[in-house]
Symmetry: C2
């Protein structure tokens, strides 16, 4: 299968890099890092085994990229409008587009832009960052849950999963809605609260009042999901997410990095969409709604 | 009537100062400002008319103060444990203690310390600050709502009210519970949110998401009060408090000043008590509970 990666940041560099390192044909769309990667290749420092790609199939524009069997979209969702230009050159009849992005409602919007295209969601449980050009630093975890959104042929999703697993990635098939809501249990509290409180995950959890609040916010997500018919996430998942986070090195989620570098935050898909989807179904998420408002306020001052 | 003021900060200096300026006998308990006030008197710069008191009845200790008909307690509530030492020298059989303090539950705790003493609540709607020794700056508003908590003789509260009015203070008698909850409608959103968002009142209200959140928090207070049987505060009061705040000069509430100067914040009486009183009656205040947790987190880092 021919793979393409749109958005070669930490996520695109890591998962695309692993696929290429395992021998797959992977084309990378690069922007600021293009010259560096062409000259120096792509370096992935990883707790699961570091590697270096010497000859990267690097592209400055999607026009030089091949029609692809699988496209990994690893942009920040705030840039998804760019897909209108970036995606069409890569599409053929049976292309599967895997959106490795955070939040709720992403596929619905991309599907509206590309009505006939097969979409799947990729939810990455991973701590990684790209702090220099062409250099990905993978600190912990690394699994990815893949859920089929609109691909009529499940065997194509299965084939994608098999390539991920063969490349040494801890990948799992899950139901689409559960995949997105399950990831939101961690994302919604920690992304926003690390921004508003200007603290990393470990500092938040060290304070008993804050730890209780984080758990309440997690339960808001779990109960919203249940209200919407996503029954696979039990209340105990909140405690296990907190335990997992306690075991992590102190971490700044992507939204905190976006805020610190004065980049747009993914408030729409991480907060506004799930909150409004739940509200339309009659379920309020008061604490995460408050967090959304606090983030809107900070964003206005920050950009 | 003989008046005493415990806690000659902005509030004690302003209301006590007005009473003294109108010719009442008012004794002031001073701490850091004592020497300055003995030498220079007390200066009140006020939008309602500035004045200077040359000969202030200043005291360093309650032991030199007279038994008083009325004691104005103008301490921050975080210092209320001091009342165990400060109040007894001033008490006679019919002393009325007016607690001009923020929050919910203050009188219940002071009553437990002094079971037989007559208490009333004073809720000041005022923007004022003491930025230098012996110098109060009153920027806007100035009214005070007085509610009888445990004075068996209402005529003593009426007499106090008459003295306040005669001194040029816009004072009103209201029912005790309504007085405290009505003030909390402004206090609970703005005190905490100006701290957490590191912004003054005007900046908060200039952002549409934040303004909506502030109103939702105000409605939490109004609905909690209604659930507790305080029926005099209708939903429209939230809008009128927002309109009033928009008309104010940009303002840092006392909790924001406390935070900036690394002093303890009045989280207990402003947040924890009303939230737990409402919860015990079956009413949740989710957004203000979240704010309480955020303040606990910041306080731990700040002190």
């Amino acid at each position: 299968m021919v793979y393409s990666v749109i958005g070669t940041g930490a996520i695109g560099g890591y998962y695309g890099g692993r696929l290429a390192n395992a021998g797959n044909e992977v084309h990378f769309l690069l922007h600021r890092d293009y010259e560096h990667v062409v000259r120096n290749g792509l370096q992935v420092d990883s707790v699961s085994g570091s590697f270096h790609l010497d000859d990267v199939l690097a592209h400055k524009s999607p026009d030089s990229m091949p029609k692809s069997d699988v496209v990994l979209v690893c942009l920040k969702t705030v840039n998804n409008a760019l897909l209108g230009e970036l995606l069409p050159p890569l599409l053929k009849e049976d292309t599967l587009v895997l959106l490795i992005q955070n939040g709720i409602g992403v596929e619905a919007d991309v599907q509206a832009m590309f009505p006939g295209v097969s979409l799947a969601a990729g939810l990455a449980f991973i701590c990684c960052a790209k702090n220099e050009p062409g250099h990905v630093n993978h600190q912990c975890f690394g699994s990815i849950n893949i859920g089929n959104y609109s691909c009529p042929d499940q065997s194509r999703v299965d084939a994608l999963l098999a390539d991920f697993v063969a490349a040494g990635i801890d990948a799992h098939l899950v139901s689409y809605d559960e995949a997105r809501w399950r990831k939101s249990v961690w994302n919604m509290p920690f992304n926003g609260m690390t921004v508003v409180m200007q603290a990393q995950t470990d500092a938040l959890l060290a304070n008993p009042s804050m730890r209780a609040l984080i758990k309440e916010q997690m339960l808001e997500v779990i109960h919203a999901a249940r209200h919407l018919g996503v029954t696979g996430i039990d209340d105990g998942f909140a405690d296990s997410m907190i335990e997992m986070t306690l075991a992590m090195t102190p971490y700044s989620p992507s939204m905190k990095l976006d805020y610190e570098f004065h980049r747009p935050m993914e408030i729409d898909y991480l907060y506004s969409r799930p909150i409004s989807i739940a509200r339309e179904a009659g379920f309020e998420m008061p604490k995460l709604s408050m967090l959304e408002a606090q983030l809107r306020f900070l964003e206005e001052k920050n950009l």
